[in-house]
């Protein structure tokens, strides 16, 4: 029996019924990883030794007859920008290549409480900056459906791990689409929670007003299980929020679904457009009211996003200076260090790859004297307009259905030489982060044997609505 194909609910059932043990489950996953990770390169680091020991421990707890939680013994993979104490956390960057995390992220503490099995850390674009995982210092993750193509980014490793049955679930992070895009490219479910729903403590910061950690899973129910385990207020993250337990009950024929007219006009692959129209029809047939809505030009949102994200990134990455931790020029014998400035310049020159340097420079430019008004301040005003527009739209509809990506998973190397073309892959995802809204990426079939997906977007803190609507599609 191939245990690596099971979803979280099936694993829980199997463990309860004693169909298999956690050790057996763990061993099958480790074998599968040994077989496939060379090709897919989802994992950067595998917790080989400690995970079998933990599995034995969990088996003992289970056989003692006590009740155990849904996530007990379930193998998960964690994006390598989330800190796990005592193991490397590299953010796929040379600047953190040898950095051993001194503490656990809050999401890890919460998963540990559930007695999950953390198999290892997954590959990402360096500092989560990218849409294809090609910006990783360690090399790209390959799409399990076609190894010559990208897995999407920046949580490419996390999505590929789930898709290739190398983990039962993964955690990723989403700043401008980094959970939703790779989930879409790999045929997995990816949930980006409302900003503030999940603690960012222990997440390597990229853009602090946009970042969120979220699950990538095989099914919607699995996403719900993981989200419930990690969500909620954290004293260590002042932007995290206490969540009310609102379970709105509704049937599909009571739903008003908005479809943004601007998103389907230009630039989207016509086959993807057709798939999404078929998705919308499924809801319509069950009685949902479909309304055409207007979301402001996606291009404006993309410009706004890149100014804000790069500005926040320029600030957040200032800490990688070779002084307190990380790659430091002072330790390199071939470097001639004359003064403090040399340490900053040389550590950062060698520590960061191109995309990171590009974004730091765009951010620095936007925030610098003489340009701040025209760029950063303007972007903040545009952001508020985007927020207001979403608020107005949600007065008329309950949910929005939209594409995730205008393109199918592209070939490795195809877009990397053209940064702007790469940025355009995010065109449907960034406004969700700017407004702090929750959104899920749901797989909706394949085109030329490549996965594709759609987004369901809701008002703040209405993940329950999204999950229910997504479950409906999954079933039908």
């Amino acid at each position: 029996m191939s245990l690596t194909k099971l979803n979280i609910s099936q694993i829980h059932h199997g463990l309860k019924e004693k169909d298999f043990s956690v050790v057996e489950l763990c061993q099958q996953y480790l074998t599968e990883i040994k077989k496939k990770n060379q090709d897919v390169f989802a994992y950067l680091f595998i917790n080989q030794d400690s995970v079998l020991a933990k599995a034995k421990q969990i088996d003992q707890t289970i056989s003692s007859g006590q009740d155990f939680s849904l996530l007990t013994g379930v193998p998960g993979a964690i994006k390598d920008n989330i800190l796990i104490k005592g193991i490397p956390c590299t953010a796929s960057s040379k600047s953190l290549e040898n950095y051993i995390a001194p503490y656990n992220a809050t999401v890890i503490e919460r998963l540990n409480k559930e007695n999950c099995l953390i198999l290892g850390k997954t590959n990402l674009d360096e500092f989560a900056m990218g849409s294809s995982t090609e910006n990783s210092f360690f090399g790209p993750t390959r799409n399990p459906f076609d190894l010559t193509r990208v897995a999407g980014g920046s949580s490419g490793g996390s999505a590929a791990a789930v898709a290739a049955n190398l983990s039962a679930f993964s955690l990723g992070s989403d700043t401008g689409g980094s959970i939703r895009l790779p989930a879409c490219f790999c045929g997995a479910v990816g949930l980006k929670p409302t900003y503030g729903a999940v603690s960012r403590y222990g997440l390597v910061a990229f853009a602090s007003s946009l970042d969120q950690i979220g699950p990538i899973t095989k099914t919607v129910q699995d996403a719900e299980i993981v989200f419930n385990a990690i969500k909620g207020k954290d004293e260590m993250d002042s932007t995290s929020v206490h969540l009310e337990n609102n379970q709105t009950d509704f049937s599909i024929n009571q739903l008003k679904i908005g479809v943004p007219k601007e998103y389907f006009v230009q630039g989207i692959n016509p086959e993807i457009k057709k798939k999404i129209e078929q998705v919308i029809e499924k809801y319509q047939v069950k009685g949902a009211l479909i309304k055409e809505i207007s979301l402001p030009s996606a291009e404006q949102a993309l410009s706004c996003y890149y100014i804000i994200a790069c500005s926040e990134a320029a600030t957040n990455l200032a800490r990688y200076d070779g002084i307190k931790y990380g790659y430091s020029a002072i330790q390199q014998t071939e470097e001639k260090i004359n003064n403090l400035l040399d340490i900053y310049l040389k550590s950062r020159e060698k520590g960061f790859r191109e995309e990171v340097k590009r974004r730091i420079m765009i951010g620095t430019y936007s925030l610098s004297a003489g340009y701040y008004q025209a760029y950063y301040l303007k972007a903040q005003k545009a952001r508020n307009q985007i927020i207001n527009n979403f608020n107005k739209v949600f007065e008329k509809v309950d949910l929005i259905i939209a594409p995730v990506s205008p393109v199918l998973p592209f070939k490795i190397g195809e877009k990397i030489e053209n940064p702007l073309e790469m940025y355009l892959a995010d065109i449907y995802t960034v406004s969700v982060n700017l407004a702090g809204l929750p959104a899920i990426s749901m797989p909706c079939g394949q085109i030329n044997n490549l996965p594709t997906g759609f987004q369901i977007i809701a008002k703040h803190f209405q993940e329950d609505k999204i999950l229910k609507a997504a479950k409906f599609y999954e079933k039908h």
Binding site: A314, I343, M361, A374, Y375, Q380, L420
Partner: protein, 95 residues
């Protein structure tokens, strides 16, 4: 097209050292990206778009009190430092 001097100014502010080749490369790439971002200038915004009137914004505070020292954690942090002396972080002189 942004000038080479502008690229040098930005690099200096960002504490990034660039080779001459890199300066030319980033000059081209940044120009393309910044040209795209220029589109934002066309968006009509006004003073009321600034966030001051958002009622939902709340400040989150905690008491400014000392947390108990954790010797093990301190050791982990010191082990991460590139250069130390007598359990202190060693750096080049600032002035």
């Amino acid at each position: 097209m942004i000038s080479k001097e502008q690229v040098e100014r930005i690099a200096k502010l960002a504490r990034l050292s660039l080779t001459e080749q890199e300066k030319t490369k980033y000059q081209k790439e940044l120009t393309v990206i910044l040209d795209y971002i220029e589109k934002l200038k066309k968006t009509e915004t006004n003073h009321s778009d600034q966030r001051k009137h958002f009622k939902e914004n709340k400040n989150v505070f905690r008491l400014d009190e000392l947390v108990k020292e954790n010797k093990a954690e301190k050791k982990d942090l010191i082990n991460l430092m590139p250069e130390t002396k007598d359990n202190y972080l060693k750096v080049k002189t600032v002035f």
